[in-house]
């Protein structure tokens, strides 16, 4: 009995340990923004990632796959992959994540992203392998 409990914990803990604190902070913010908030959706995030607003979308610079290196739409500057599976530094620095959400949401949507949008986006990008 004890060993099976320990085995269960051993399986569950790594999953808990890999919860991204930045994503969790957006979860809290999303609940505050919208009391009816349920959860983030990677599928919604993927749709958001590829939706064009005018000439731009996330994919316009980051390419259709977060695993691939991207290119700035105007300058051609190489952009390292977004997905942590390809680039482990991604989504580890909260200030950096917020800075780029602020800049890029303004570029594409001409407004700030909601916590829901940020969380959906992150859920998608974190899930890509």
């Amino acid at each position: 009995m004890k060993t099976s409990i320990l085995a269960c914990l051993a399986l569950a803990l790594p999953l808990c340990a890999s919860a991204n604190p930045i994503l969790e902070s957006y979860r809290t913010a999303a609940k505050q923004e919208n009391p009816a908030f349920k959860d983030f959706s990677a599928a919604t995030g993927q749709k958001f990632y590829t939706t064009k607003v005018g000439a731009l979308s996330c994919a316009a610079c980051h390419t259709d796959s977060p695993m691939a290196a991207g290119k700035h739409a105007s300058t051609n500057k190489e952009i390292l992959p977004l997905a942590p599976t390809a680039n482990p530094k991604r989504f580890t620095d909260a200030a950096n994540v917020e800075k780029w959400f602020k800049r890029n949401c303004n570029d594409v949507l001409k407004r700030a992203c909601t916590a829901q949008e940020k969380g959906d986006f992150m859920s998608y990008v974190l899930s890509v392998k």
Binding site: H72, S74, T75, N76, K77, I79, K102, R103
Partner: protein
Amino acid sequence: MNSLFTPPTRLLVGRIATGLLIVLSAATSAHAEEDGKRGFFDFFRGEGSKAVAQTPAPPKYQQECASCHMAYPPGLLPPSSWQHLMSNLGKHYGTDASLAAQDATLIGNWLNTNAGTYKRVSGAPPEDRISQSDWFLRKHRAGEVPANVWTRASVRSPANCSACHSGAEQGNFNEHQVRIPG
């Protein structure tokens, strides 16, 4: 008889004059300037090859200013351009590039210290764009760089120095190392 201008003297004076003429014309010719290296004749012009000398860039410069475009050597613009750019980061060529105050100060100081002070970089170019400077337009005129180069997917824009100048971020724009991609 004029003892001062004897034939041997005249010959010597003539040879010295010719020598000086050769040296001076080589010094004033534009060709040596094109080289990124500081050669003997650069002594006579004091600009060009030293335009992109600088103290090492703070890591913040690469981090904050080279995510979307290459890290431009500060010597390519005058201090007034850099100051203008740094005070208008919210409207940076169509995007919001604003920085935390202390980062902006740190980067701004480095840019100001290492900005271009030589004659050809003295005036602020239109829109503070390096690629709109007189010297840039002259060096990249249609006879030197075919107009269709700028629209190639591998190049995209004159702001993309590294497309053809692989040593651009290190300030190396040596004409002999240019490779225009297809």
